[in-house]
Structures are given as C-alpha cells and as structure tokens.
Symmetry: C2
Subunit: 190 residues, 2 copies
DNA sequence: CGGTATTGTCAGTTTAGACTGACGGTTCAG
DNA sequence: CTGAACCGTCAGTCTAAACTGACAATACCG
C-alpha cells in the first residue's frame, strides 16, 4: 500500500512540490540545491525550525543543514531565533519575497559585481598603458583592443546603474515603475 | 619549454586579462568557464576565428572549443562565417554588448523562466486542490500553504514582467529609463 | 561543576559536470 | 576517386563542488 509513505500526507506532498521548484530556481541563480531547499522549507513553515528538524524533513545530513543555514544567514535571508528556557536554536526565513530579493541583490552586488568591475577597470587601464608604451602597428592594435574593453566596461557600468536604481526604488512596485517608464520612452525605431 | 612565453607579447597579455575577467563574469551567470573564454576571445577579435585557432590560443582541446562554440551559437551570440574557396569554418561574436545581453535574456526567459513558472503554477494549483479536498485543521493548513505559494508566484510574475519590459524597451537606454522612473515614483516611506 | 543536549566544523567520500582525445563524417582539391 | 584538412561527437577521465558523519565546541540543567 504505502510505497511512498511520505506522499500519503497531502501537506507534505504540497510542500515537497514547491520546495523542488524553489530549489531549481535557486540553482539557476547559482545557489546550491540544499541551500535552496532549506530556504524554501523555512519560507513555507511559519514556525521557526531547528537544525535537526530541517535535516530530517529534507532527508539531508545534519552537517549539510547546518552549512546551508550558515549560507542563508550570510545572505541575510534567514534569522536565528531563540526562546528563553529552551536551549535549541531555531531559524526562520524572511516572509516577504520582495524583501529577500532586494537583500539578495544588494549582497550579490557587494560580493560579486563590485570586485569584478574593479578587475574590469584594471584590465582597461592595463590595455591603455600597454598601448601608450607601444609603437606603430602594435600600438594601433592595442588601442583597438582597449576600445573594445572600454565598450564592454561602459555596458557593465550601465548594468550596475540598473541594479542601483532597483536597490533605491526597491520592493514590489518595480514592475509598475518600469512599465510606466517604458510608456514615457517608447522604443526607438519600432 | 619557456615558463610563460606568451606573456611577453603585450597584445596577448592584455587580451588574457580581459578574457579572464569575462570568464569569471560568465561563471557568475552560470555559464561555464571555457564558453566564457571563447566568447571573450571572439568579442576581442574582430576577424572571425576557426576552431583550431581558438583551441590553440586558449590552450584548450579542440573538442572543448567545438562544444563551447556550439553552446554560444545556441545562445545566439556567435555566428558561423564561411568564405568561398576556403573549406574552413570561422566564427564571430556579436560586437554590441547590449545586443547580446538582450539576446541572452530572451533565451534565458524561454529556456529557464517559462518552464519554472509553469511548474510554480502547477504547484499552486495542486496545493489548492489538496486544500479543497481536505477538512478541518488540515484544510486550514493546506490553504495557508497555498497562500504562501501564491504570494511567491505573484512575486515571480512581477519579476517576469520586469524582464518583459526590458525586452520590449531593450538596449542601452534602460538605465536612463529606469532612473527617470525612479524620480516619478519616489520611494515609499523613505 | 559534570552531564547532556545541541550546534558548528571539517576531513574524507561521493557526485555532477567539464575536458580531453580518438574516431567518424564531410568537404574539397587534385 | 582518393587523400588531406577539418569539424562534430562522445566515452572515458579528470576536477571541483557538495554532502556525510564523526568529532569539537558551546550552552544550559541540576
């Protein structure tokens, strides 16, 4: 009868489905599967959960659950909760998707975008320096390469601007804001 | 064998630096290292290149270069070029960053976002169905879970809207559009 | 304080994914 | 038609990342 005893519980089945979808979305963002699953579980569960409960519920090791929680805390999307008279530590996730998305973008900007932009400018500077130090045809080629790098850097800079405006405006009104803007600036040439 | 004979050539050194930065950016986007490096090389090199030249230049195997090119073509950011009277096949990259970014986003939407959104709606529907089929406290809990999934789905939907507006407006004017919008809709509550 | 419950860490193992290199198919020159 | 040059594919190997489970550290109880 019960080939999959867990699936007999509708509540658990509903949760599992959502958890798997969220997990896959996380992976598309470069977040590892377990971290995504833990995050999804905490989002669904209003009551804060402790490490062992999470590990058992998701069928992962204690260590894996602990590490995943640490990651999520570093991303600022999960909080530690303690109750006086209870030595256990519980964890709960931010419940508003827009809030954690905002947090995630801010953190990603700090960790990934900023360092990469610095290296990009370094590369452009190095190209320019090399070009100025060369002569004739080689100089010409180096300058051309420098222009290409600059072109890419300009693009990247605009992209970061976009992130910054998002961070400044924030939250769920983005789409509406965006749509209105689109009407004000109709697409050039069709 | 010299330790690093290549680095004696400034042109090559400049290129290498940029290629590594681009490669790391690609990895942040979930694109594999070799694919990113090939793309960067083709962006920098105005003349189309053939597979063997790419493989030798980047110190990767012929097979790896070929597979990377195939990926880039599937993403629509690299074109095949042939010259009559020359049996070799050459490849060239789109030279405008905004154009390929646009292409990439469109492709990602098709491949990743759409399927995941479908599964998300499925999950919500399943939750609703399970809730209606249950009674008492379990029904209550299922309905609560359904609401959570819906809340996330709403967020995801707005995110897709954002992508769609980007695809409609397109290109480098995004940041300006966005900034103007921000002024029109000042942030609520500071 | 000693005992116990619980979380955090990390060396070793497993797993997923990337890379290589050999092979087969294709095109073109002679 | 034959051989040479070249591209695409994929089985096998290699590498990097994730996961496990045992141990260390910490907090709390009596």
């Amino acid at each position: 009868m019960n080939a999959k005893p867990d699936e007999r519980d509708p509540q658990r089945e509903v949760e599992d489905r959502f958890i798997e979808v969220w997990s896959d979305i996380s992976q598309l963002w470069g977040v590892n599967k377990s971290v995504g699953r833990v995050h999804a579980l905490l989002y669904l569960t209003s009551d804060p959960l402790d490490i062992d409960t999470i590990a058992e519920r998701l069928q992962i090791s204690h260590g894996n659950a602990s590490t995943s929680i640490r990651d999520l805390m570093a991303w600022g999307v999960v909080r530690r909760v303690t109750h006086p008279g209870d030595r256990k530590t519980y964890f709960e996730a931010e419940q508003d998707p827009w809030t954690w998305f905002h947090t995630t973008i801010r953190e990603r900007r700090r960790r990934e975008v900023v360092p990469v932009m610095e290296r990009l400018h370094e590369a452009a500077g190095f190209a320019e320096g090399a070009g100025k130090g060369a002569k004739g045809k080689q100089r010409e080629q180096l300058m051309e390469t420098h222009d290409k790098i600059e072109k890419f850097a300009d693009f990247a800079h605009e992209f970061v601007d976009l992130i910054d405006v998002f961070l400044a405006v924030g939250h769920g009104r983005m789409a509406k804001v965006f749509r209105t803007a689109a009407k004000l600036f109709p697409k050039r040439g069709g």
